[in-house]
Chain length 229, copies 2
DNA sequence: AAATATAGTGTCAATACAACACTAAGTCAA
DNA sequence: TTGACTTAGTGTTGTATTGACACTATATTT
């Protein structure tokens, strides 16, 4: 169904910076482009926005189609639209960032031949388009946001130890934290539910497990509580 | 020059929430729509993005064309793109917010007949499209941002008293601040330049005037200084 | 039983924060 | 000119928060 307009229009896409955490640190999900421009280069997953879906729906759909991911934490980041960011024509992209629990999902390449892989955020290949700038912005946002909103839990398994939580913060903030101070503060937030379970299969004293208490979080959020860590 | 595409495309616009400050409090600049849809309703200034300009350039151009404002502080806010937010067709808008010194500029209606006016942010008329949601987001952002970045100076004249500065913060944050504590903190930021001038034409002891020291600000920003007030 | 590896815990000093009230300096009007 | 008025300007103190710091507990492995 061809469409005709008085004036040429920009194309509109969404792109997602998807972060995951494993023992090696912070990872980002990239797909390898199969077609020009930038064929063979790695890029953020994304694609064109359909006319009948919201921007967020478009981002979730592209994630599902291109990587198999579903039910991730997703938030709008920034809109990139400089002329020339796509060599073919004017393309404006609404960038999102997403957080996933690495254990939960195994990513898979989409139906077409493009491959999907996790890359360490501190050792990235050259990216297509201006995706390096988008990714840098996403990392900045993640770092800023994690300070005052407990979004980091989205990167951890549902049950986690305080040590895992601390490693997460140390990884994202890129600085070491004092163990005792961290534990005091984390527990003082009042949004961790202590479980009657401990780690399994570790070659040392097992750590107690906690769960993120979303109900308590919502309650405190409504009361204007400050979640700075 | 008509353009034809395989698939229909969303239209792309920018909208600006422009804030100013006067003795009555925080104001926002609105224009009255001349045409349908929402003819006669007040709306945020904005318009279509041209293919050869950046999003920010589009926002600045629309501001100039519709309100006569130039050289304002401008920052991207969020992109609103739900289907149905414009009754005619799919329109995605990249929203910006801007801060201006009310004394500096007199706004004027654009060449066409639409009128322009400042409205108190706490007493707004019904707005066109989803502009009430955009404006609410802009106010939230301003409030959050002013806490940790000294952007408030953009709302004040170049030379201002500490009392004016405090009134600004009290207005934006919507709570009273302690005079002595505020002055201590504000001066401790090290980004205020004390001038050898005082207020003129006031019916009481005149206050010393200060200027925002941008050089010092940049310096401290680079050093990772924390500008929380 | 010893070695190893991580879990888990409290104190103290320094700093930051919040509460609080009076004097100083100018204008204006009687 | 003096008194009333209005806003400018200034320090201290108690409280809360932060950051630095080291050892014991508990499990596994050899």
């Amino acid at each position: 169904m061809p469409a005709t307009y008085d004036h040429p229009r920009a194309a509109l896409t969404v792109d997602c910076a998807v972060f995951g955490l494993d023992d090696d640190g912070l990872k980002v999900l990239l797909i390898q482009r199969g077609i020009e421009p930038f064929a063979g280069r790695w890029a953020l997953p994304g694609g064109f926005v359909h006319l009948d879906e919201t921007l967020e729906q478009a981002a979730l759909r592209e994630l599902r189609e291109e990587t198999g991911l579903e039910r991730v934490f997703l938030e709008q980041l920034y809109t990139f639209g400089d002329p020339g960011r796509d060599p073919r024509e004017r393309v404006v992209t609404v960038a999102y960032y997403a957080l996933v629990r690495l254990g939960d999902h195994t990513v898979q390449a989409a139906t077409d031949a493009r491959s999907v892989a996790w890359f360490a955020t501190d050792d990235l290949p050259a990216l297509a388009f201006d995706h390096d700038a988008i990714l840098a912005a996403a990392l900045n946002r993640l770092q800023a946001k994690v300070r005052y909103q407990p979004i980091g839990f989205e990167l951890l398994p549902p049950k986690f130890s305080l040590t895992q939580l601390q490693r997460l913060y140390e990884t994202v903030l890129e600085r070491p934290l004092d163990k005792r101070n961290f534990r005091k503060k984390a527990l003082a937030l009042g949004i961790l539910q202590e479980l009657d379970e401990v780690e399994q299969d570790v070659a040392h004293r097992a750590a107690r497990l906690y769960r993120f208490d979303e109900a308590a979080y919502r309650q405190k959020l409504a009361d204007g509580f400050n979640f700075e860590l």
